[in-house]
């Protein structure tokens, strides 16, 4: 199957990736190659087979709910591109009513 440019742009949008036109063109071919190759999986009869999400038994271990120290705020903010007033500053997400 060949992915169209529109499909590549739609996938990139879901993944929050801005692509150039050149990238759309190139990735369309490369991703189609991989998906074509992966199509052989559909020739395998798996009607009686359970999926493996993890090789370990999936359990959700519990621990006591105790207060423990965590790194100080300034240390965690030190890596942020735009810290301000002890917080992560981000572009406005909600437009206010006039």
């Amino acid at each position: 199957m060949a992915l169209t440019h529109e499909e590549v742009r739609a996938i990139a949008h879901l993944a929050r990736l801005q692509l150039t036109d050149e990238e759309v063109e190139r990735f369309a071919g490369q991703l189609s190659d991989v998906l074509d190759y992966a199509a052989r999986l559909n020739e395998v009869d798996t009607s009686e087979i359970s999926p493996t999400a993890s090789v370990l038994p999936m359990n959700a271990p519990l621990r006591p709910d105790e207060v423990r120290p965590c790194p100080p705020r300034d240390q965690l903010l030190a890596n942020a591109p735009d810290p301000a007033g002890g917080m992560f500053r981000v572009p406005r997400v909600l437009e206010l009513e006039p």
């Binding site: 996938i11 190759y37 999926p51 493996t52 090789v55």
Partner: protein, 487 residues
């Protein structure tokens, strides 16, 4: 004494205990060698001179106050850490521009356990971006070069660690293996590399790629050097709920009797496309095990050829979720016009490399509505078949022996702009990750171009001790692991 950097890790540990050398001298020797040759090899992304010398001085103080036999074997030993494992305060980039300048506020548990035992951290070693690749060509900070031939890749994604060990810039290195990323570079660089069982070593502080596949491992100049590193890192960590609580076995390397050992040789691993010299070297090594008394059986792992498509759907699917966190808000640079949501698109579009973008998109597609069952769901079911192949095989054999990679180290740029051809190179290493079992790569010869050839052992889940004892017995009787590149 020969050059200090020519010692194996255990030889260096003995020299430290005998007082023949100090950790400071070992560390300076490694730092000098990095300065001398890493301009050509480019194994390191960051060299932590000051940290290393401070750790070395602390180690030397311990040797003065306590007798050496009570101290951990890694005390005072300079090592490298793959740049996907966090070291507190040290730049950790995952080979990506999107983490440029990131200094983690904590260390990975695997790193902490070695540092607490006194290991000396020389620096962070190169990797394909987010460990996605088989050559280090996907590092945003430039390719590493194979010390045996600088025009060849060192393999990947732990190519920096493998090149650093092979070129004797460090005594051992920490790597990670999600689809072969310890074993294949170990083979390409002629060193020994351990992929541990899924769950054996904590992944706290390992920056996530494919969470059902990621494992921490190590590379060293021989099997015996790997054992104390494994023993220190292994074991449950409350900070990683996927780390198993099973006890860590003691690794005994005292010339195991191989006469009880049954080694399976899977016919699906000796296929068209396998470089003839690789097949010859691997078969000769298998013959050597037969000569030492092991029973060799041909076995079948019938779903082997499906490991590539299964892996290249499951790993990208997990990666697409894991890498959603890189949004230019909490760490890394932010790009864009200062508007929502544009900044997300521009930051990720500009700062992720091509291979990372491809895998995020493959995973996004495989998980998207209407395609989930056909791609991700079906891949998870075929993964079950691959795991069942191993479960059946290990009823009859203790170990599986096979090539690590179809060829020796390929040329830089050889796979051009054809990612699928690169993925197909991973066919012999992916199955162990999909099944969660441990693997060990060790040198068994050279091709006519003088490039190392590796063989792989695989064992049942949590049976690392079996890998160690058989491979160590081989290295006790052979000398491939004692050859080093001239640099």
């Amino acid at each position: 004494m020969a050059e200090l950097t020519d010692l194996s890790m255990l030889e260096a540990a003995s020299a430290l205990r005998a007082g023949d050398v100090s950790s400071t001298e070992l560390t300076r020797a490694c730092l000098d060698r990095i300065r001398a040759i890493d301009g050509d090899v480019h194994a390191f992304l960051t060299v932590t001179d000051d940290l290393a010398l401070a750790q070395a001085e602390a180690a030397d103080r311990k040797f003065k106050t306590r007798p050496g036999e009570e101290l951990p074997l890694v005390l005072g030993i300079p090592i490298a850490v793959k740049d996907v494992l966090c070291v507190e305060g040290v730049p950790t980039t995952c080979g990506s521009r999107i983490l440029e300048g990131y200094r983690p506020p904590y260390s990975a548990t695997s790193v902490t356990r070695l540092v607490e035992a006194g290991a000396v951290i020389l620096g962070k070693a190169n990797t394909d971006e987010f460990a996605m690749g088989s050559s280090t060509e996907n590092s945003a900070y430039g390719v590493s070069h194979n010390p045996w031939n600088l025009d060849r890749v060192p393999g990947g994604s732990s190519g920096g660690p493998a090149a650093a060990v092979a070129a004797r810039m460090c005594f051992a290195a920490l790597g990670t293996d999600t689809g072969g990323s310890v074993r294949q570079p170990a083979a390409f660089c002629g060193v020994s590399g351990l992929k541990t069982s899924y769950g054996r070593i904590s992944r706290y502080g390992l920056i996530a790629y494919g969470s059902s596949l990621d494992t921490v491992g190590a590379l060293a100049r021989n099997i015996a050097d790997l054992a104390p590193i494994f023993s220190l890192m292994a074991g449950h960590d409350p900070l990683d709920s996927t780390s198993v609580t099973d006890p860590v076995p003691e690794i005994r390397l005292n010339g195991a009797d191989l006469r009880e050992l049954r080694i399976g040789v899977p016919k699906e691993y000796f296929i068209e496309g396998l470089q003839p010299e690789v097949e010859t070297a691997v078969r000769e090594a298998i013959d050597a095990f037969r000569g030492m008394g092991a029973e060799i059986r041909e076995i079948s792992l019938p779903h082997t050829d499906l490991a590539v498509p299964v892996y290249y759907l499951i790993a990208p699917a997990e990666a697409s979720a894991n890498l959603a966190r890189y949004d230019g808000v909490r760490y890394g640079p932010r790009r864009g016009p200062g508007k929502y949501p544009d900044d997300y698109f521009v930051t990720r579009g500009e700062l992720f490399g091509d291979e990372v973008k491809r895998r995020i998109m493959l995973g996004t597609y495989a998980l998207s509505a209407g395609y989930y069952d056909a791609y991700y769901g079906q891949a998870q079911k075929v993964r079950t078949l691959i795991k069942q192949d191993f479960d059946a095989a290990f009823k009859d054999v203790d170990l599986i022996a096979c090539p690590v990679a179809p060829t020796t180290a390929f040329g830089i740029g050889a796979h051009g702009d054809d990612p699928l051809s690169m993925y197909l190179e991973d066919v012999f290493t992916l199955p162990a990750n999909l099944a969660g079992i441990p693997g060990l790569s060790f040198p068994v010869g050279f091709d006519s171009d003088g490039l190392p050839i590796g063989m792989q052992f695989m064992a049942p889940h949590l049976k690392e001790a079996q890998l160690f004892s058989a491979a160590h017995t081989y290295q006790s009787a052979t000398s491939w692991h004692t050859s080093w590149p001239e640099l």
